[in-house]
Symmetry: C2
Subunit: 140 residues, 2 copies
């Protein structure tokens, strides 16, 4: 069973609005934030009613760790970034979601965390198509 057909899970509308779907892993929906400033994935465990990272069951937490690694390694393999940032914040959107972001020492926010530094800049359509295809290939 993949993340898309979990019962009772619905992606939060704000996450749906801000992202493009990349793929479904055993636990998480993998989404691409539509912000060309940073290569920025969001992993959403497809379980109803999760808010905090520690709300995950023990088994799901193991899977989440594995999928965070897969997402990190996909970004590393494609882009060779200087750093990966991982975060579950959720102060604005209460549904548990995990940011996995490739950081570069010359990106718009370095060395600060990315939130709130520069306004989101949507991808151009052709760049977006290429990037999504690369990401899907990297996730296998």
């Amino acid at each position: 069973m993949s993340a898309t057909n979990m019962p009772d899970f619905e992606l939060h509308p704000q996450l749906a609005a801000d992202t493009l779907p990349v793929c479904s892993l055993p636990l998480c929906e993998v989404l691409l934030l539509n912000d060309a400033n940073y290569p920025w994935l969001v992993l959403v465990p497809a379980r109803a009613n999760l808010r905090d990272f520690h709300d995950l069951s023990s088994d799901d937490m193991v899977t989440a760790g594995r999928e965070i690694s897969r997402a990190s390694e996909a970004l590393v393999g494609l882009l060779a970034p200087d750093k990966i940032n991982v975060a579950a914040l959720g102060n604005m959107v209460p549904q548990l979601h995990i940011h996995v972001i490739a950081r570069f020492t010359d990106d718009a926010a370095w060395p600060s965390p990315i939130w709130g530094v520069v306004p989101a800049q949507e991808y151009e359509s052709s760049a977006l198509d290429t990037w999504l295809a690369d990401l899907r290939r990297a996730f296998g």
Copy 2:
């Protein structure tokens, strides 16, 4: 074996300077950030040469998830915060460290992430002693 006696692990001097030791878990050193603005723990896996979350071995990642949960639940049990933020950023201090922060809707940065919003404010010595004792009790 607890985190303190892992071979070849040395806490990064910047983390040592900014924090107080709370306790040692099987994998992580648990540290309290000396910033009274936020109840803010830092978990440092006591392994040499880790930078990113995905550098953890599979087994250590499982333990890290468990210890992040323990830290989150300690903060929830003591403070009943509105949200827990979890993050492995490490853009400034390269040694892998995981922030576990209790957030309140009336804290200095809400709903933004905490980094860079207000200057750190050191705890007063008596408040710090009480808080460390409470935390150590909560970790058992």
